[in-house]
Point group: C2
Chain length 214, copies 2
DNA sequence: ACCGGATTCGAACGAGCGTCCGAACGGCAA
DNA sequence: TTGCCGTTCGGACGCTCGTTCGAATCCGGT
């Protein structure tokens, strides 16, 4: 963590600022000049750290998925109960998103902008993540599914990823409450009541990893 | 329907083509020249029908919400059972999306592009739609909610709207199956089995409105 | 045939875009 | 001090963008 060079530290600063600009203006509308202004680095100076605007987006997305997947593996290690594992996954996902709201929006909203090798590598990370979710859901309901696994996976991702359009911490409260409710909603549905000391067992399942991605 | 003038018909053709271009390239990346090429109308000729690129997006979105809300009201008329009403709403939403995939993507993905009066009017339509969903969910679980109403509403929208990122009719089957499963998922959760002749009562709740929006 | 409004279009304008180049700067090793 | 290399930047290039303007064309009513 403290082993990074001057160069790395500045690149990270640039990525963070770029994510904020991309989140606010959208990738295509945001200009390299905007990022230059946000970082204080001159227009051409940015190209010393990054080959192109597209690579900027790629590095942001790669860093995010790396962090999410690392934290997820660390959270799930030693946990076998399928429901607890799902609860942890949702906490991990939403926790990362809430702590990196700009990056979250870039991840969710600029998903099909990359092309070529950049796109291929990000797609691989997404596939790895999706497979984990699918396997986890599969383990959760070993009997014949009432809902197709693929559709259930994407429905869950929809619930979780869509929050970039509406979640605001000051209005919508802490993210662990959101994670608890979303876990309940996905597992038991809106129709059922939340039993006392229910699935969350007092909130002890919350993921504890560090969240800052970039 | 057949009362539209030459002018109106051509405008509608333009809106349809523009939606397809916006869906494929994204609003900001897509150029008026792309739309000109897709319609066969010359670059400057488009401005006889539309004041600006932004109005183009506005007209597409307005037409979509008008259609969705009209169809929804017509579907819900005469239906009082809350679960049936929710099932119809999901069928309506997904049915419209599947029949207007370009418009769906534009609706979901270019949500915060509009500004000024355009944005205000679309926001009003969205609020109307959200309020209907919230009221419907409220009626569904009159006892104390296990999940916050606002969060449940947006979770449902997330499940439904996210399909623009993954749904392909040839691979994922007809949309009424998807609607049935999503209704079940939202009401009962992933953990519960789909009881025989269950919530869907044999698929008889599918919405029947016409889907073409523009 | 002819008029007048509705419709269409080629050509251009100014602005902003991503990227590149060559010069300048900084601090450390010799 | 000198030389070197990692770093920074002003300025420019070529391109695409949304929009405009004035002229040309079409077409139904007289």
């Amino acid at each position: 963590m403290e082993e990074q060079s001057r160069y790395d530290a500045k690149l990270i600063r640039i990525l963070r600022a770029a994510a904020a600009v991309f989140a606010e203006r959208g990738y295509h509308r945001a200009s390299i000049r905007d990022i230059s202004a946000a970082t204080g680095v001159s227009l051409s100076g940015l190209y010393y750290y990054v080959d192109s605007k597209e690579e900027l987006l790629y590095l942001i997305q790669r860093q995010c998925f790396e962090t999410i997947l690392e934290n997820l593996h660390s959270d799930l290690r030693d946990v076998t109960d399928p429901e607890r594992r799902l609860s942890l996954l949702i906490s991990n996902h939403l926790g990362f998103f809430a702590s990196n709201m700009s990056e979250m929006k870039v991840l969710s909203h600029e998903a099909d902008v990359l092309s070529g090798d950049y796109a291929r590598k990000i797609t691989d990370q997404k596939r790895e993540y999706s497979a984990i979710v699918s396997d986890l859901l599969d383990a959760l309901a070993p009997q014949a599914h009432s809902v197709d696994l693929r559709r259930a996976t994407f429905s869950l991702f929809g619930m979780m990823n869509w929050i970039y359009t509406w979640y605001r911490p000051d209005r919508d409260g802490p993210v662990n409450v959101l994670a608890t409710e979303m876990t309940h909603l996905f597992l038991r549905g809106f129709g059922s009541g939340l039993q006392d000391g229910g699935i969350e067992g007092g909130g002890g399942y919350n993921a504890t990893s560090m969240w800052r991605a970039v």
